[in-house]
C-alpha cells in the first residue's frame, strides 16, 4: 500500500488546488498557495527517508545508514522562497483593500474593456 506520507501529499495538494479554484477571498487564495507549498516541502523531505537511518549531522561519521541530505537543502530553499512570495502577496492584498474596499475576487477584476 502507499505510504502515509505520499497519501498526505496528494490530499494536501488537492485541498490547496480546490481552495484556489473555489474560494474568492484573496486571503484564502494566499492560504491555498501556502498549503500547496507546504505539501511539496513534505514531499521533498519524505523522498530522502530511508528505513532505520539517522540524521546526517556528524563530524567523524561512523558507518551507519543516513537519510539523504540533498532534499533537505532543496526544502530549505523552497521555504525561503515561499516566505518572500507570501510577504509580497499579503502586502499587495493590503494595498488592494485600501484601494477597492473589498477583498472579494468577484468585485474588482480588470475586465476586458473592449468596444
Amino acid at each position: 500500500m502507499i505510504d502515509i506520507q505520499f497519501l498526505t501529499v496528494v490530499i494536501l495538494i488537492s485541498v490547496g488546488i480546490s481552495t484556489l479554484v473555489f474560494k474568492k477571498n484573496i486571503i484564502k487564495i494566499v492560504m491555498g498557495i501556502e498549503i500547496i507549498s507546504s505539501s511539496i516541502n513534505l514531499f521533498l523531505i519524505s523522498l530522502g527517508y530511508r528505513e532505520g537511518s539517522v540524521a546526517p549531522i556528524f563530524t567523524n561519521a561512523p558507518s551507519v545508514k543516513m537519510v539523504l541530505p540533498t532534499p533537505q537543502a532543496l526544502t530549505l530553499t523552497n521555504i525561503v522562497i515561499d516566505l518572500a512570495i507570501t510577504a509580497l502577496m499579503l502586502s499587495l492584498a493590503v494595498l488592494i483593500y485600501n484601494y477597492y474596499g473589498t477583498l472579494s475576487m468577484k468585485k474588482w477584476r480588470l475586465v476586458e474593456r473592449c468596444s
Partner: protein, 115 residues
Amino acid sequence: MMMTTLSTIRGFWDPVLWMAAFIIVIVITCYIRSLGKEEYKRGTEQTMVFFSGNIPPKELISSSNIYWGFFKAMEKYYTCIRRFHTGMVNDYVYYFIVIVIVIIASLIIGGVLWM
C-alpha cells in the same frame, strides 16, 4: 549581393533586389500620378470626405468605430471568447489543471496505443 541574400527551402529572398523593384514601381506610379486629371476641381463637393452621403461630424471620430463590420460579422465568436476571459484567478488555475490532466491522459493513452 551575396551578403544580403537569405536562401530558404525553395528559393531565396534578397531585400536589396526587393527595394530596387519597389523604387522602380514608385517612380513609375508618381510619374503617372503627376500627369493630372482634367475633371478635378479643388474645393467643390468632389474633394470632400466621403461619409456615406451624410455630413461629416466636426468632433473626433474615435478609433473604436473602425472595423465595425468585422466585429459584427464575428459576433458569435466574440461573445464566446469574451465569456472565456473572466478575469478571476480561480478560473486561470482551473484552466491550468484541465490542461495538465488532458496532457497526462493523452501521454498515457498514446503510450499504451503505440506500445
